[in-house]
Amino acid sequence: MRDHLDVLRTGDPVAEGTTRYGRGLASIPTQALLSVILPIVTAVIALVVWEILVTRSGIAESILPPPTAVLSKLINFFELILTHGIPTTLETFVAFGISIPLGIVLAAIMVYSRPINQALYANLIFFQLIPKIALAPLFIVWLGIGAEARIAFSIFICFFPILISTVTGLQAVDRDMLRLCQSVQASDWQILFHIRFPYSLPFIFAGMKVAVTLAIIGVVVGEFIASTKGLGYLILFASSRQQTDLGLAAITVLCGVGLSFYGLVVLGEIVMKKFYEIQ
């Protein structure tokens, strides 16, 4: 038995395996490169086709401007777009930042209190089915046209996915794992922090990925309805004056904001998975 273990310790079969594998399948780096290059090439081709079709067919720029026109607008009006981009970004950040603890804490309460769970769960699912966007004007009525209304509305539509997936995650812990905790007389708090919470992190991040896009939607819809700044306002303003190129430039920046937020969540997920050794 000892010998067997020593072999395991010194032989390092894992490292050997990788080199052999790597040599045999030399095309793997090429594969990885292709998975990055191919989508970019596709996007570039689409943009080029768009550019050619629009310029050749003589569609009015106010209907559909070519990508180059959008790009030049983006460069020329960068300062203006940035002024509108900042409040949108900040409001999204605040709304998303509040939604995460709100969703997680409410989920923990629901998992630990059966009556609260029974009282809330069915109603929450029902709420999920409401087209929540329809309630946006009411938030303006209740909270005015300031940032509070947009942030509140954004939280309202984006914390549900976090809540629901956290509830699922907290309940998905292996039964024997929970029995082990009970047998070593772990308290409910200890089980929550040491077991349930780490095990539900993949679920929480899955919910956050959905929530982060909804958070931006919430803020932009709020800006559409009543606002004097923000990218949503800028898009609405540009469209009403048939400045489609400016509208598209603002949308481009909005995409960038959305991607950055999504990237942050993915980054957080990678760090978490590394720390908790979750594959």
Binding site: M1, R2, L5, L8, R9, D174, D176, M177, R179, L180, C181, Q182, S183, V184, Q185, A186, Q190, H194, I195, P198, F275, Y276, E277, I278, Q279
Partner: protein, 287 residues
């Protein structure tokens, strides 16, 4: 008061005087979608202090449920379970548990997994650290303290789980098919290891298994449990002296006992309602 009555009645029922764990008319009925489902029916047995007893039976015969009730992790529908003279109502520190799955935390090192009960019970880490390292060394995991479960084989993970069950020096070890998820060779290795550990630490142990050979090799007594009804149908003393080793499995006497136990299980099952038998392993503990 009730406790005294129970202890008095024990002797009249012929229970071992120095029994540490006593089950008296234990019943367990589950509520399965509104219908009562009987998991354990009138189970009576006792386990002596320092005795190694196996609960042997096919899958789904209620032996794990019974073990969980003894460990205070499942409620008892009717009857009583005593450990050290006191009724078991909730988990106790004197119980060390092992499950089919090692149930290690993937983000903790082997050492921290062994220390998990100490951390949860809020006992001083420094007092148990040496013991943890010693246990890992004894069990053949010296040098793997810092390894994460991902880096360990299935057998090594289950060894970490053994150390974790022993870290707080429990009086009773409750094991729920701890080796049934391992391959046959690793399982033999773990059986030898457990024999050695039991020789050293002399814990009262209840071991749930569906392998006849494993039960006979490890135990002082084998209790056969059957389904429909889920109750104990036989109590067999295993006469072999200790220390034992794996070669015991090659002796004629050993195989006779195994054949006798298999006969009892088969007889009980054919007397039942003729449902197809569950999983029962006849081989397994052979090298």
């Amino acid at each position: 008061m009730a406790q005294n009555i129970k202890i008095d009645s024990q002797s009249s029922l012929g229970f071992d005087q120095d029994a540490y764990i006593v089950c008296r008319q234990v019943h367990k009925v589950y509520n399965a979608n509104g219908k009562p489902l009987e998991a354990v029916r009138s189970v009576d047995f006792s386990v002596g202090d320092g005795e190694f007893v196996s609960l042997l039976g096919p899958s789904g015969c209620g032996k794990s449920t019974l073990l969980m009730m003894i460990g205070g992790l499942e409620s008892i529908t009717d009857g009583e379970i005593f450990a050290g003279g006191k009724p078991v109502t909730k988990p106790r520190r004197e119980f060390g548990m092992m499950f089919q799955d090692p149930t290690l935390l993937p983000w903790k090192s082997a050492l921290d997994n062994v220390m998990f009960p100490i951390d949860m019970m809020r006992l001083p880490r420094s007092r148990y650290l040496d013991r943890a390292l010693e246990l890992l060394e004894t069990i053949g995991l010296g040098g793997f303290e810092k390894s994460k479960p991902r880096e360990l084989s299935g057998g090594m993970r289950q060894r970490v789980a053994i150390c974790r069950a022993l870290i707080s020096d429990p009086r009773v070890l409750l094991m729920d098919e701890p080796f049934s998820a391992l391959d046959a060779m690793t399982r033999d290795e773990m059986n030898i290891l457990l024999l050695g550990l039991w020789q050293t630490y002399k814990k009262t142990a209840i071991f749930v298994t569906h392998s006849i050979r494993e039960a006979v090799l490890l135990s002082d007594r084998v209790l056969v449990m059957c389904d429909r009804p889920s109750t104990i149908i036989s109590d067999t003393k295993i006469p072999f002296s200790r220390p034992r080793d794996i070669r015991l499995g090659e002796t004629h006497e050993f195989n006779e006992i195994c054949a006798m136990l298999l006969g009892k299980i088969t007889a009980a099952r054919t007397n039942g309602d003729g449902e197809p038998p569950g999983e029962i392993v006849v081989g397994g503990a052979q090298s």
